[in-house]
Symmetry: C2
Subunit: 159 residues, 2 copies
């Protein structure tokens, strides 16, 4: 591997380790346990899980892997706080959505060369990218890895 391939592999591995932790944490919880709050009056596990799926789904167009697969998640899990939307997907449905989005992202990751990882993501203009070449695909991956870890730390408190 070249140095840049090694570095990219490290970043994808850190992402994958966090997705594996998330999957292990959330799947297998039934609807009742998914209703547990991470702290009194704070987000429920079901909200954090749906939120992660929605944020990860939005990475697909951002990284140039194709259109959103589940934009319908945004109303309950991105644009609203927990409890604003009454009907949420079941535990089984969330597991299915998680695996679908995670699989699409992993396929996308595998398709990229190291040079493509440092190309701009789709939410930055050509001019903006000239000013700040760190607005690239890899920065999105690293940022969303931190985001996932942030909410995993919270979710762990409800178990």
């Amino acid at each position: 591997m070249t140095p840049e391939q090694t570095i990219v592999a490290c970043a994808v591995r850190e992402w994958t380790m966090n997705t594996e932790r998330a999957r292990a944490l959330f799947t297998g919880l039934d609807t009742a346990r998914l209703s547990a709050e991470v702290a009194p009056g704070r987000n429920r596990l079901v909200y954090l899980w749906g939120h992660l799926i929605a944020v990860h789904d939005a990475m697909l167009p951002l990284l140039g892997f194709g259109p959103r697969r589940h934009p319908e998640l945004d109303e309950a899990f991105l644009n609203s706080g927990d409890r604003a939307v009454e009907h949420l997907p079941s535990a089984e449905e969330l597991t299915r959505l998680w695996d679908e989005v995670d699989g699409a992202l992993q396929a996308g990751f595998r398709s990229l060369s190291a040079a493509e990882w440092v190309q701009k993501h789709t939410a930055v203009s050509d001019e903006g990218f000239v000013v700040n070449p760190l607005r690239n695909r890899l920065a999105v991956l690293l940022n969303r890895t931190s985001h996932m870890a942030y909410h995993l730390g919270q979710a762990r408190l409800a178990l």
Copy 2:
């Protein structure tokens, strides 16, 4: 910048963004507010802050930046759970320790070339590194970034 320099810069920026969030969150809290629990019966803010400082201090030898500066933190913040050690550093002392360790790490980061980032960290043997070249300095940085974000998500709940 070469692609590998850009990728390293992205990783260091994600680390730095998280350290800035941590500093903004913890500094300015007095001893009373640092005693807040992230959830009933769970870790207090003071423990999470000291824990992050101890983990970051341990990165110095791991990345080859020199010896530990504050191994005395381990008893209260690494080897024990919260409340096992009665006397903890004051808020002012923790801020001073945070800044010292953070400064030493940032100086170390700046000293490394991209090629040095993919060299093995000091806790892996030459043979182990041949088997798994992802056990390098950059993997340590990415892993500790996730670790910090994990606890930041928890700390945020106490504010």
